[in-house]
Amino acid sequence: MTENLEVVRTTTWSAGPGCHGGCGVLAYIKDGKLVKIEGDPEHPWNQGRLCARCLAMTQYVTHTERLTHPLKRIGQRGEGKWQQISWDEAFDLIEKKLGKIRDEFGPESVIFSMGTGRDIGPWICLLAYAYGSPNVMFALSGIACYSPRIAAVDTVQGDYCVLDASQWLPARYEDPRYKVPECIIVWGYNIPASCPDNVFGHWIIDLMKRGTKIIAIDPRLTWFASRAEVWLRLRPGTDGALAMGFLNVIINEGLYDREFVEKWTNSSHLVRSDTGKLLRESDLAKDGSPDNFVAWDTKRGAPVVWDSSNVEYRLSDVQPALEGSYEVNLFDGTRIPVKTVWSVFCEEVNRYPVERVSEITWVPKDDIIKAARLYARSKPASIHWGVPIDMTPAITPTVQAIAALWCITGNLDVPGGNVISRFAFDAVAYALPGAKGVIKLKSKEADKKRIGASRYGPLNRFIWRAHTDLALEQIFTEEPYPIKGMWIQTCNPVAGIGLDPKKWVEAIKKLDFVVAVDLFMTPTTQLADVVLPAATFLEKDGIRSWWVPLQSINKAISVGECKPDVEINFELAKRFDPDFRWKDIHELFDEIIKPSGMTFKELQEKGWAFPPEGHPSAPYHRFEKGLLRPDRKPGFQTPSGKVELYSSIREEWGLEPVAHYEEPPFTPISQPELYKKYPLILSTGRRSPAYFHSEHRNIPWLREIEPDPLVEIHPDTAESLHIGDGEWVWVENWMGRCKLKAKVTPIVPRWMVMATHGWWFPEKPAQEPHLFGVMESNVNQLIPMGFTGKDGLGAPIKHLLCRLYKVSGSEGTENA
């Protein structure tokens, strides 16, 4: 096996393992074919390790069902009749059809739809923006995966942050600048199965071996929960209340970092008691700036202006009051009562005594106290969270509470804490929360038509996507303008990312022209007019600057006529945009990574590169060193330059400025009548090491790990419903039902079932009405669209209600 082997060193980033990538791999190639893949032992990210999905790449790349040529529909939509066409024919057809829609209805009438981020964001924006459409859509209700968390954290502190597992340091755990966290709160995150959000999950295992204690927050007995110092089995969706409870303990027991609170948060700024709004310089003086805030100077016994642009008080030697109520004169002579932000914040926190939090969350009071104390007393301590935080309508207030935890305990941007995460070398491909990239929409004017932009604040400040729920509605209402086409890439709304999937089927069918780009036929590609074959990560050149390190993806093989997403989109973008300015993809890569001082070729030779110490994208203590703000002054990229415990941005949006808890829409508490009929909490989407969302059901090594769609049910609950392990059951609520196989296990509580997501059956017939059996077991049929948070973000995906009953005789044989 060693003879004539070529070894290509590259970086994973979908498609293939499907994940969020980052692992260094060695691809062993013989006669142009992949014979084996291994983890790269020299790569600082995964250090030679590799997950099951990546290790199964040999079964993936040359899979007999792989799409290897462009296809054109020749029958009715969904009839499954296709004709192979050449790339030239495909590009010509797409140019003609999409061009016609643009001429007749405007470019905004085509939606460019993607699944979870990965290596698609920049390239789908490249095409959409060249075409002229602002409507790039992440197809999940409430955009409820990661972007909301980033936007919410940016609202509080101007830059996102993640668990520091030494990933910024090439020597990793051995680097003397690094400190192993004494404690990590693992908040709704299941290690064996996922490396979400650009954190290699098993880094936490590495840290546990080095002494880190775990606080696990999860309704399921996850691997972490089993090994935690404290496990908080909370009712799904009550994370916000739990975080408020932690704050309550930490503040009332004086376990917070007072120096950080005083110096780096807006805790001293004053809030008007009459309006509940931040007091601004423009309230005190007619020519005062509305961007400047006001504190109470205890030394002078008078208000003092905080100059936001200079990030300092107007006067020197100020001793701002942290707590208390005062009175100030407005410029019109009115005298009004004011309070400090810290006082307002503490009042809110005090509405959540642990007894009340215990009642809301169903977590024993003593455990909440124990966990809060352990976190606050551990130095450093870190919080690592998962997607359940996004998957609730009140995502932003929840994040405000959790972000307050790492801020007021002094764990922000310190070694082993929550470290500010920027794109390596600030090399940014496209506009994301907190960053503006190389690939842009041509004009602000064109962005005005973006669906939801005028309605939801975060969509105008942080998240440059169309609002998914409104977009789906608009396909039916055609108001304020009709949607005529859809480009669907790395995206499977019928089986995976779409809630209420039958509605997505109806919506896609209503459109005049649909292109799908994928590696295999899926329930979604069946509904397209043209299907284009995409490449795996082994078949493409690419770049990755998502946090660290900066990495190149290096082409190792070719398969059929498959093309990388970037090349497909590049070719069409050139056709749609007369001003398209890049010659080839390498020139585009060069421009994106220019801040690193390297060309793409140079990066390829190096493989990966870390930003040096002192660079704004390298830790630590950047807010003290003036590395975060464009003006290089110490502080944060927020309107006040401080961590905003009272959010001026939320105030501007007319939303509650302070962290708090909101009961989700479909719970035993908010829907007591429904709960009588559907007496089990339905949580969905627990991760599997075998699958990335709706992918990999056709990869034999992976399918054998988890052959069937499962619903986890507690043994006592199963017994009361006469359900045995391995029996097929209907999971049903007011939206619909799906058929899942019962896994009877005490890892779930008696009051909840956990349904796996993303299921379809590649072995079943493709054409309608089958669509690979997608409607048999797709649990998203039980989840509605349109229940996002007040700011348009988040969706109730982890906490619904349902009932279970056995599938009767003949119904059960189909899947069994």
Partner: protein
Amino acid sequence: MPKSSGYGLLIDYEYCTGCYSCQVACAQEYRWPAGMSGIRVIEVVERLPKDREYLVYLPFPTELCILCAPRTKKGLEPSCVKHCMAACIKYGKIEDLAKEMGKKPRMVLWSPRA
């Protein structure tokens, strides 16, 4: 009775997370079809007093495990050891591994068919 090879796998099952990398790494190395692999992951959820449970994943070397003789001859680690995401599988002489086993609880030492 056949003699042991003298080599084995030490599993620290406190840290095995059930990622299945070992199982798929082995299948890839020896091109086993699905349903066959030299190592297989078992899930055990043990109910404990006071309504508690403990979740364990345990990699078990099957009849197909040859302790990666073709790899170890070249000085490489067995494929499962190399790719284990939790770095909880160790290959070595059974007597050395047995000593290591005494250092902490929740370990098993396998002497596969090899």
